[in-house]
């Protein structure tokens, strides 16, 4: 699949608490930008791949909003990985020649749910799923990581705070991000606890937002623009509910490892630490980002908390991670997030970031975007590049 499909246009709405916007408004905002970026109209789109997890009615919402009549609309709902999996399905669809040009669209209106955070119950065993929240579920990683690597509670929280500080600094430079606030380590440590060891600044926002990509076959891509971004590789992996898996150690996530290795292999990457120019990973919580570094082989096991202090993952570090602020600050409208992350790679790899201060320095070749879904049990990775081969 390497280099078979290319992204030729992208759009992203402003993320945040968009109280005065409907999901239709957000969709129109993202799609208007995306179509203009590709230089096409909606009549040039052969199919829609729609991603959303919290609005029922599936693709019909998007079709209605855009008056996108007469073409197939495929809905993808895979929790936080919805956007990535829709992107991957779209890439596969154009690569195998079923369609020439398709639109991938993710949209979510979480601020209409009435809850401040996300629950992760599925509803098939409601009594067992009572009181399950996303921070309560992901927070389980924290205590185990601290225990395993001998970090005192405060020491562990300080490492996590370093991620929050980094992502807030990056998000401050992202005009479309949900939060624009530079914070200090002390701010993070002194914030109210949400699900210990996670405090307020360890948790991403629940946001409204939409994002969109126009994908076509690589051999057609230059007819849209001079600088298409090529899909180099991807990987998707699901695990059965890890919470009940006696062999699961809460440090090594098989879905993370498998999805990243599959993507590296497809993209021909043998040393991600040297070859990945920047990454947008699933920092739903700071602790998630911490273990992703290690599961993605961005660093050795048990080293992430040390490398953070050296600025290894900062915007000017060895592997810049979440340079647009991540889920943490850009926001996390679930179905839109994977496409938003890819939007940042796309703009970074084209050297066309909306705020030049945020542009990662140096020659950028490959970017990795990633979402991690469920409580947590599925992972999707996409690697994009600005050169063929």
């Amino acid at each position: 699949m390497k280099d078979k499909a290319a992204i030729v246009g992208m759009g992203c709405s402003k993320f945040g608490e968009r109280w005065d916007c409907s999901i239709e408004d957000l969709i129109v905002e993202a799609v208007t930008e995306g179509l203009a970026d590709a230089g096409i109209g909606k009549e040039d789109v052969d199919a829609l791949f729609y991603s959303s997890s919290f609005i029922t009615g599936a693709s019909a919402v998007a079709v209605d909003a855009l008056r996108l009549d007469g073409i197939p609309a495929y809905h993808n709902e895979n929790w936080c990985c919805s956007g990535h999996i829709a992107l991957i399905q779209a890439a596969m669809a154009v690569a195998c020649g079923v369609y020439n040009t398709v639109m991938v669209l993710g949209a979510e209106k979480l601020k209409d749910t009435g809850a401040g955070g996300l629950g992760v119950g599925r509803g098939n065993t409601p009594v067992m799923e009572n009181r399950r929240t996303a921070p309560g579920s992901f927070g389980l990683i924290g205590q185990r990581y601290f225990h395993e690597y001998g970090l005192a509670y405060d020491e562990g929280r300080r490492a996590l705070a370093r991620i929050a500080v980094k992502n807030h600094a990056n998000g401050f430079l992202s005009p479309k991000a949900h939060f624009h606030k530079v914070i200090t380590i002390e701010d993070a440590l002194n914030a109210p606890i949400i699900a210990a060891p996670l405090g307020l600044y360890d948790c991403c926002g629940t946001s409204d937002g939409a994002s969109c990509a126009i994908i076509t076959r690589t051999d057609m891509s230059k007819s849209f623009r001079e600088n298409p971004i090529y899909i180099k590789g991807f990987g998707v992996s699901h695990d059965s509910m890890p919470h009940y898996n006696p062999n699961f150690d809460w440090l090594h996530f098989p879905a993370l490892i498998k999805s990243s290795q599959d993507a590296y292999q497809m993209a021909g990457i043998t040393n991600p630490r040297e070859e990945i120019s920047l990454a947008e990973v699933h920092d739903c919580f700071t602790v998630t980002e911490l273990v992703i570094y290690e599961n993605f082989d961005f660093c050795d096991e048990g080293m992430a908390h040390k490398l953070l202090q050296e600025g290894y993952f900062d915007r000017d570090g060895k592997i810049p991670v979440n340079v647009d602020g991540g889920l943490k600050c850009f926001g996390h409208p679930v179905g839109a997030s994977g496409i938003r992350m890819t939007y940042e790679l796309y703009k970074q790899l084209q050297q066309q970031v909306d705020n030049p201060e945020r542009q990662v320095k140096g020659d950028l070749h490959l970017g990795l975007s990633h979402t991690f879904g469920g409580p947590p049990q599925l992972s999707a990775v996409l690697i994009a590049g600005n050169e063929l081969g």
Partner: protein
């Protein structure tokens, strides 16, 4: 009378207690002596009854149980079997007699008579009698300080008896003295001199004299008298009038637990048996619109149940609760905002999944022996399909593998939810909520046991499931 009696005992006293001073201070007045037990926000009379019943199975095999009697005046449902929920939660046989003895504070002793009669007729009858109570009364009333929440259980049968029931005298006296109308939340009491003179004292005096005459016994023949007490003094006056000395009267636990209504007579009986000697004669005299009295003789078998006196254990392993406002909200007298992180079940789901939700069964693969929770038709270890047998897991002891203290999931009055992943020694990984814990004491490796709790009332019915709690009942973490 055929030889029947008590085969086993069980009890449950909640983890929390609240000082009467704390309650009184909220109303700017002086408190009564002692503390009262209080249920947690996830408990009700059914969950406490399940906990008490489970402890009976330290001594009898649950497979042999033929009946469950549930006695309470504070049961959650006006219409629906509670004994059935208890029977399911304890995974008792389907062929079982269940009865709810509701509304009378002597329901527990009434049920003992019914079960003893049944065992007289059929020696195979082994009935659990569980009495459980969590009554509410008006805030700022004296009774608010005096009441307490607890449950107790006895198993009645005709084999391996720890105490025989030698005689039973029941009396019915109609009087409106203590009552609660069907739509009311709070218990009412009549004028105290009237209800103690014409109700409590009159009925018990008559019934006790009747049983003494029938058994040709003297007050001094009894090692202990189990006398219910809904007041600090009246029971002592009555005892004196009946000819019993104060040291013959079983400690009423009013200073540690409070007046736990229907559960009181059984709880005091269990406490008495846990300290009794072979040959001791016990007199139970229970009051409610009449009286139930019985004479028991403790047997040599009593030592079998005395290795770990449960009432003492429960009293020694609990924690003081210091917030009266939360005491009220836990009882929904002054409700606070509930957690939004709940999912509404359907009647069908709850019925279909009861092996998991109520019986807490996992599965064991018949091919490879791997055990897992929740049960899964496909073995996680060897992939065998439908090669599973259901196994009970509620008595397992586990150690925390990792945890979160989740303050998003909580309700306003109970904000910290312990989300825990834990392992048992058979390789099963669990993921449950923790209750009855001190957040400052939770750590990786901590030993936990399972407890039956109410999760919510969504769907307009009570949803029960199992939670972890730091080991309170099990000794040394043995399964």
């Amino acid at each position: 009378m055929k030889r029947v009696g008590i085969m086993a005992v069980g009890a449950y006293i909640p983890y929390f207690y609240i000082s009467r001073d704390v309650i009184a201070k909220a109303w700017n007045k002086k408190g009564m002596k002692g503390v009262r037990s209080m249920m947690n926000s996830d408990e009700d009379s059914v969950t406490m009854a399940v906990e008490a019943t489970r402890t009976c199975f330290r001594f009898v095999d649950k497979k042999d149980v033929t009946g469950v009697f549930f006695a309470s005046s504070s049961a959650p449902y006006a219409e629906k079997s509670h004994a059935g929920i208890i029977s399911a939660a304890c995974d008792l046989a389907r062929k079982i007699y269940t009865a709810d003895v509701m509304g009378s504070l002597k329901g527990g002793t009434s049920a003992i008579k019914a079960a003893a009669d049944a065992a007289c007729v059929n020696p195979n009858e082994q009935s659990v009698i569980v009495a459980s109570e969590c009554r509410d009364t008006y805030p700022n009333s004296r009774k608010e300080q005096l009441l307490g929440d607890a449950a107790a259980a006895v198993v009645i049968g005709s084999e391996n008896l720890i105490a025989t029931i030698d005689e039973y005298v029941a009396v019915s006296d109609e009087i409106v003295d203590v009552w609660r109308n069907s739509c009311e939340t709070f218990v009412n009491w009549g004028e105290s001199r009237f209800i103690y003179e014409e109700g409590y004292t009159s009925s018990l005096t008559y019934a006790v004299n009747e049983i003494l005459a029938r058994t040709e016994m003297q007050p001094s023949d009894f090692a202990k008298v189990i006398l219910p007490a809904s007041d600090m003094r009246e029971y002592l006056k009555l005892a004196e009038r009946l000819g019993f000395s104060p040291d013959q009267i079983q400690d009423t636990l009013l200073l540690e637990v409070g007046d736990c209504g229907t559960a009181q007579a059984l709880l005091l009986l269990v406490a008495a048996l846990e300290k009794a000697k072979p040959g001791d004669r016990l007199l139970v005299a229970n009051y409610a619109n009449g009286a139930d009295t019985m004479v028991l003789t403790v047997t040599e078998e009593i030592t079998n149940i005395q290795k770990a006196p449960l009432v003492d254990t429960l009293l020694s392993r609990r924690r003081e609760f210091k917030e009266y406002n939360r005491f009220l909200s836990f009882r929904k007298i002054c409700p606070t905002v509930a957690s939004v992180y709940n999912l509404k079940p359907s009647n069908a789901q709850t019925w279909r999944e009861q092996d998991t939700f109520l019986r807490f069964k996992g599965s064991k693969c018949k091919k490879c022996g791997a055990e897992i929770f929740p049960a899964n038709r496909v073995c996680h270890n060897c992939g065998a399909v439908d090669e599973l047998e259901r196994i009970n897991l509620d008595e397992r002891v586990v150690k925390i593998y990792t945890f979160t203290l989740d303050e998003l999931a909580g309700s306003d009055d109970d904000p910290v939810v312990g989300q825990v992943c834990a392992n048992d020694e058979y390789g099963v990984r669990y993921y449950n909520i923790m209750t009855d814990f001190d957040p400052s004491e939770v750590e990786v490796g901590m030993t936990l046991e399972f407890t039956f709790r109410k999760m919510n009332e969504l769907g307009n019915f009570n949803n029960y499931y199992w939670k972890f709690r730091p080991v309170r009942i099990k000794e040394g973490g043995e399964t």
